[in-house]
């Protein structure tokens, strides 16, 4: 090629000139274009959809830019710091996520320094929790505190321990979890605002709260005892439910029987009274005859049934004048 002819720098320029159409007129323009490109390269920047761009000129804050493509002054005159203002960040306490996913893996390592704390009734609990937060004021975040995340971590520990220190161990374990979550969020926000961190606490959530391993069996024993108590009470009520309705039914039976007795007695009495009155009405008409008839009829009915019959003359004191009717079967005739 032409390289063979090159003998000095002038020749190189000449070769270049030939390449650019053999005309040196455009050469400064090309240099200017390249310079412009370099300048443009340092002055175009883009802000992501979840970000805000904080622009500083010679270190001094001038404005915030929304997502999109923007221009700034090059050569370090303008500096841009993109801040993720929409993203929610998470900090974990007493536990670390190794890999989040469908089945999140947690570090097996124990973080007892973070998680062991004292409850209000002077017990020790292993408390794990997470804090979610986002940036609410990017300017404060950048310019007011040096380590916003460290602040979140420190203040979260301060607040959580202070709260747990005001609750009983059973409350932290069970009933007051929600209350502690809410109070922790409020309290954290208060302090972070006081520090002007520009951070918004989205949520504080207690995760696993456990007694330390050394005392776990004793806690389980209490739970078992609680269940045993419930079981005993249930058993007693079961027996109650078995006995009482039955007794009620039986009581009802006794009362109904009494009522039956009442009906029976009264009806009988009425019947007998009626019978008596009717008989008496007839009797009144011819008392003498009726009386005798009734007497004899009764004797007729009664005497044959008796096994032995004796007739005694009261004037005779001996036993001899005794008429033994039964022996001969007199009644059978």
């Amino acid at each position: 090629m032409e390289w063979k002819d090159v003998r000095g720098p002038d020749d190189i320029i000449n070769v270049g000139r030939e390449k650019f159409g053999g005309s040196g007129k455009f050469f400064p323009l090309v240099i200017a274009a390249v310079a412009l490109l370099i300048m443009m390269g340092g002055s175009i920047y883009s802000i992501g959809p979840d970000e805000a761009g904080i622009v500083q000129r010679f270190g001094r804050y001038i404005y915030t830019t929304p997502p999109g493509l923007h221009l700034k002054l090059p050569f370090g005159i303008d500096g841009v710091t993109p801040i993720k203002v929409k993203r929610v960040f998470k900090e974990e306490f007493g536990v670390r996520t190794l890999r989040a996913g469908v089945k999140t893996q947690y570090s097996k390592k124990q973080y007892h320094d973070e998680s062991l704390m004292l409850t209000g009734d002077l017990n020790i609990l292993d408390v794990r929790w997470i804090v979610q937060f986002k940036v609410k004021d990017a300017i404060k975040l950048l310019f007011k505190t040096r380590d916003p995340v460290d602040n979140v971590r420190d203040i979260s520990e301060v607040v959580m321990r202070q709260l747990v220190g005001d609750y009983r161990v059973d409350e932290v374990l069970t009933t007051k979890r929600e209350e502690i979550n809410d109070l922790a969020q409020i309290k954290m926000q208060e302090i972070l605002d006081y520090y002007e961190t520009g951070i918004q606490v989205v949520t504080v959530k207690l995760q696993d709260v456990n007694p330390p391993d050394e005392v776990k069996p004793a806690f389980n024993e209490v739970n078992e005892a609680k269940q045993e108590k419930e079981r005993m009470i249930n058993q007693a009520w079961e027996a109650y439910n078995k006995a009482i309705p039955r007794a009620r039914g039986e009581a009802e039976k006794v009362i109904r029987e009494a009522e039956g007795y009442q009906l029976d007695k009264i009806n009988r009495a009425r019947g007998e009274a009626e019978r008596f009155l009717d008989t008496w009405a007839e009797y009144k008409k011819v008392p003498e005859i009726t009386q005798k008839r009734l007497y004899l009829e009764t004797m007729m009915d009664v005497l044959p049934r008796a096994k032995e019959k004796y007739i005694i003359d009261p004037k005779q004191s001996s036993i001899l004048p005794l008429l033994n009717i039964g022996q001969k079967g007199g009644s059978q005739q």
């Binding site: 500083q56 010679f58 270190g59 001094r60 804050y61 320094d113 062991l116 004292l118 209000g120 009734d121 002077l122 017990n123 020790i124 040096r146 520990e157 321990r161 202070q162 220190g165 005001d166 609750y167 009983r168 409350e171 302090i191 520090y195 007694p211 050394e214 005392v215 004793a218 024993e221 005892a225 609680k226 005993m232 009470i233 007693a236 027996a239 109650y240 009482i244 007794a247 039986e250 009581a251 009802e252 006794v254 009494a258 007795y261 009906l263 007695k265 009495a269 009274a273 008596f276 009155l277 009797y283 009386q291 007497y295 009664v302 049934r305 008796a306 096994k307 032995e308 007739i311 005694i312």
Partner: protein, 318 residues
């Protein structure tokens, strides 16, 4: 075009020269600057962000933080007033408010942190050793109220002591004490907080033992409560059973009594019409029901029945 380009070129060259020689310097929003001339501070510290000028070569800009800074103490083993040894970890927030004084008295952040260690640790020690353990743990007396309101099975006697100060106020006391000393270093102490507080290892073992004992006691209480409640329900069952059967008995007796009274009245009313006839009839009836095949009847010759018999006999005899 040409003069314009020339001006730009000259300006650019000047800017580069000034930057190279150190005649201009940039102050970030996060920084403040003290200008020193051969090590000696010159003028007031610069706290406004932006581009500033100084004498090149002979003046030097020293940068300091303007933002809120952290201090994290080493955990300390401190006894409380009731001689309990605890590990205490405090954290503090501070600011360089007077960069000049800061430069003169402590020089660097590292130096400042060292001073803060001294100030805050001693203030912490003073505050903790003069208060009971519960004061350092609890912040309010809410636990006393809740313990009173609910039926609490597990409790530790000493935890139920009333507190007058509480953790937050204690932290405030530490801050108040340390805050007074900080300004002489050009520092403002913004906040001191108790971060971590725990029993020392030896005490922790004892606490675990106590916790276990408390839980066992609670478990026993639950069991005995269960037994008690069971007995109570059994007793109630028995009582209700007795009540039900006795009430039924009472009612049935009442009904029977009324029945008897009513029948008595009915009989009396009817029989009273002719008592003599009644006793006659009833006597006959009694005969019927009392005499059976085992009975022996002895009749005297005076009896009515025999009277007829005698008269019948006498008829063929006479």
């Amino acid at each position: 075009m040409k003069p314009f380009l020339k001006i730009i070129g000259i300006l650019a060259v000047l800017a580069v020269i000034m930057a190279m020689s150190g005649a201009v310097y940039v102050v970030n929003e996060t920084k403040q600057v003290v200008i020193t001339q051969f090590g000696k501070p010159v003028g007031e510290p610069v706290v406004t962000a932006g581009l500033h000028f100084k004498m090149p070569f002979i003046q030097r800009a020293q940068y300091f933080e303007k933002r809120l800074l952290e201090w994290d103490g080493n955990p300390n083993q401190i006894p409380t007033k009731d001689k309990r040894y605890i590990w205490l970890d405090t954290t503090a927030r501070w600011k360089i408010t007077d960069a000049l004084k800061f430069l003169q008295s402590v020089g660097t952040e590292r130096g400042a942190l060292g001073r803060l260690d001294d100030i805050i640790n001693s203030a912490t020690r003073d505050a903790i050793t003069s208060h009971l353990l519960v004061e350092t743990i609890r912040n309010t007396n809410r636990i006393l109220d809740s313990t009173e309101k609910e039926k609490v099975v597990v409790f530790t006697e000493e935890a139920l002591e009333k507190i007058d100060v509480g953790r937050e106020v204690l932290a405030g006391m530490i801050l108040a004490k340390a805050k007074v000393i900080a300004p002489q270093y050009g520092i403002e102490l913004i906040d001191v907080r108790i971060k971590r507080l725990n029993y020392v290892e030896a005490v922790r073992k004892k606490v675990y033992e106590r916790m276990i004992a408390e839980r066992k006691r609670a478990a026993e209480q639950y069991r005995s409560e269960g037994q008690g409640k069971q007995a109570e329900i059994e007793g109630q069952t028995g009582k209700e059973l007795k009540q039900i059967t006795s009430e039924a008995y009472r009612k049935s007796q009442g009904i029977r009594g009324k029945a008897d009274a009513e029948t008595t009245r009915i009989y009396a009313e009817a029989y009273n019409k002719d008592p003599v006839f009644y006793s006659f009839l009833k006597t006959l009836e009694t005969y019927k029901s009392t005499i059976d095949e085992k009975s022996t009847i002895i009749l005297t010759t005076d009896s009515d029945y025999y009277r007829y018999l005698k008269s019948i006999k006498s008829v063929p005899g006479d």
